[in-house]
């Protein structure tokens, strides 16, 4: 039965996977193991996205199905599922910009790669980044932005992090629509990524620089 949830979710068979979930709950299966199967499927979906086999609609659809599964299973869960996390990242779309599609994809990819992502949402004021870094002690910050106005907002965010005395404690990566090396230089960030896969590999190498080798799951 285990295989069923995993492969049905990977193949985005919405009706089928929900039926299996319901069935497994009915026969008294452990809700935690259902969620862990679902998570395992999401990792494969993420890998397929990374390899160009899956595209944004597949991620969006799988995310919706996952939410439906969790809506069915959550009431039966007795404890929090324990997920091994390798590192913390503070993430958000910078002030003035309300675009979230790209940000959400990167957050999803970081999440399935084991990072604990503190997603601050869109149009995030610089101070909110600073506070979250202090609160969580996250050594990595991801700034997203689609519009060209984000270049300045990113720069201001980097400056605010520096002013707060946190610049040496964090590595900052930026990304979104037009972001390239010229913008990275302009903003004072440490690195930029062209897509979600680049963000994952940047996050991994930043973590290793700051915190030593990753503890793999």
């Amino acid at each position: 039965m285990t295989e069923d949830i995993v492969s049905a979710l990977i193949d985005l068979k919405e009706k089928e996977v929900l039926e299996i979930v319901q069935h497994r709950l009915n026969i008294g299966d452990n809700p935690m193991s259902i969620m862990s199967d679902a998570r395992c499927a999401m990792e494969t979906i993420g890998n397929r996205f990374a390899s160009g086999e899956y595209f944004i609609p597949d991620l969006v659809y799988s995310g919706v199905i996952l939410r439906e599964i969790s809506d069915i299973v959550k009431p039966k869960l007795t404890g929090e599922a324990e997920i091994k996390r390798v590192g913390k990242i503070v993430f958000g779309t910078v002030a003035g910009d309300i675009h979230d599609i790209g940000k959400d994809i990167v957050v999803f990819m970081l999440d399935i790669n084991g990072f604990e992502v503190y997603d601050l949402g869109v149009d995030v004021p610089v101070q909110k980044f600073v506070e979250k870094i202090k609160e969580t002690g996250a050594p990595i910050v991801g700034l997203s932005g689609f519009l060209t106005l984000a270049f300045d907002a990113m720069k201001e965010t980097v400056v605010a992090i520096k002013t707060a005395g946190l610049r040496d404690k964090v590595k900052i990566m930026i990304g979104g629509g037009q972001i390239d090396e010229a913008v990275r230089k302009y903003t004072g960030a440490d690195a930029y990524g062209k897509d979600a896969m680049a963000a994952v590999s940047l996050a991994k190498s930043m973590w290793e620089i700051n915190k030593g080798p990753l503890r793999e799951g």
Partner: protein
């Protein structure tokens, strides 16, 4: 004797549209020099499009958003609310930079109109966005997943009674209106009109009349601007506008998530809706260009970019109706000008399937060498001057990139120098470098 429009092949229609653009009605040029420059500019663009004659040089057309406002020292909010300042700023930009074509003032829409109607679909400068920034779309499912049938059956009535009340708070009472097509016989008329007597519906109509007054004030500023610019020798690049059917439904009706789920959950309904909206979008492009007498139809593209859809999804859901829109415009002598924001590397093979010399593809981050190789014999391509260089680079870097584009993509014609993404906060000296360098270096010998 002149041939009737219906009898002309699309080549002749396109040439006739260009002739109309070359000799605009009601324009008295300020000097013989202005007239000469105007005609040279339009001819240069025409030759780049048609791929029949080599233009005298690479046309250069910075596609500016709010750049003229920032350049002239007014805020984005002022550009949307104070039409005198809007006019002054955009005029200063055109006269100072002397591009081959301008974009008019209409992209900075009438702010007060949006206030009157309480527009929920966007945030705009000073109203949800900073006064210094451009407007942004607030995506949502403004049409629900189970409303396709109602939309397909009568798109116009659906817009009036369902969609508009959702995106304009002020027009919410329009929900009460019955379809106009019910008015068939004498006894039906009274019933149909009852809602128009209700106080809240009447208030909504009064607001709509006020909004119309505002639109007219703003529209007359926009046409006065185009007229003055033409008389001084500068054509407006945009003849009209429309959208690709998939974007029309995905951007502002169903939203990104909505349309993506529809591809899996109700693909046939989505395909039916795409077909239903296609003739409306063709007509939108044709009627807007009829008003201006300029054949170029701007089509901003979004959800077909690399990564957004698989090849199969693009070929199933995006391209068939988009191609119908392009062909519908081409058949009527119009020149579609799709703006491919992001990349289109995976689509080049597909979009090649169009007649020669009919389209201008404006590319942003697409691999230009590949685009030239795949489309160069077939269509005019433009773009790829990186917005990042214009914003944070130096004039020397801009010139280097422009040189590369002119040498490789501009070789043998069929190229227009355009920025990659829309120009807002760019450095003026960089925009100037893009224009001046192209004028100097882009001459065909």
């Amino acid at each position: 004797m002149q041939k009737k429009w219906e009898e002309m092949p699309s080549d002749e229609k396109q040439e006739a549209m260009f002739q109309k653009w070359l000799s605009p009605k009601g324009i008295e040029f300020t000097s013989p020099e202005a007239e000469k420059l105007y005609k040279q500019r339009v001819t240069r663009i025409r030759d780049a499009v048609q791929l029949k004659r080599l233009p005298d040089r690479v046309p250069v057309f910075p596609n500016v958003g709010f750049f003229p406002a920032f350049y002239a020292g007014i805020t984005a909010e002022e550009a949307m609310y104070d039409y005198d300042k809007l006019y002054m700023a955009w005029k200063k930009y055109v006269l100072d930079f002397e591009p081959d074509a301008h974009v008019g003032v209409s992209l900075a829409g009438p702010g007060k109109l949006f206030d009157i109607l309480d527009y929920k679909l966007y945030t705009w400068p000073g109203h949800g966005s900073s006064p210094l920034h451009t407007y942004q779309c607030r995506e949502g499912e403004y049409i629900k997943a189970d409303e396709y049938d109602a939309f397909i059956q009568n798109p116009s009535d659906f817009f009036r009674s369902v969609y508009l009340p959702r995106i304009f708070r002020t027009l919410a009472p329009f929900k009460k209106l019955s379809p106009l097509t019910d008015i068939l016989e004498l006894p039906f008329v009274g019933f149909n009109l009852i809602p128009y007597g209700m106080p809240d519906v009447q208030d909504a109509f009064k607001a709509l009349l006020e909004a119309g007054g505002e639109a007219l004030r703003w529209g007359s500023v926009a046409s006065a601007f185009d007229k003055e610019m033409a008389q001084s020798g500068f054509p407006n690049f945009f003849g009209g506008t429309t959208k690709a059917p998939f974007d029309a439904i995905g951007d502002t009706l169903r939203g990104t998530t909505g349309i993506m789920l529809d591809m899996y959950r109700q693909p046939d309904k989505l395909l039916e809706a795409l077909e239903a909206i296609t003739p409306l979008l063709i007509e939108m492009g044709i009627s807007s260009t009829s008003r201006t007498g300029n054949p170029i139809v701007f089509i901003p593209l979004h959800k077909g970019a690399d990564g957004f859809l698989s090849d199969e999804q693009y070929k199933t859901f995006y391209w068939p109706t988009f191609r119908k829109v392009l062909m519908g415009l081409i058949d009527e002598g119009r020149v579609p000008f799709p703006f491919v924001e992001g990349g289109y590397n995976s689509r080049l093979e597909v979009i090649r399937d169009l007649p020669r010399g009919k389209v201008i593809w404006w590319f942003d981050l697409t691999d230009m060498d590949k685009a030239k190789q795949m489309l160069g014999n077939n269509a005019c391509i433009g773009g790829n001057m990186p917005i990042t260089l214009l914003n944070v680079g130096t004039p020397a870097e801009v010139r280097d990139h422009a040189k590369k584009l002119v040498d490789t993509i501009g070789k043998d014609g069929g190229y227009i120098m355009i920025n990659g993404a829309v120009i807002d906060e760019a450095k003026p000296e960089n925009v100037k470098a893009m224009i001046d360098f192209t004028k100097e270096y882009g001459v065909y010998k």
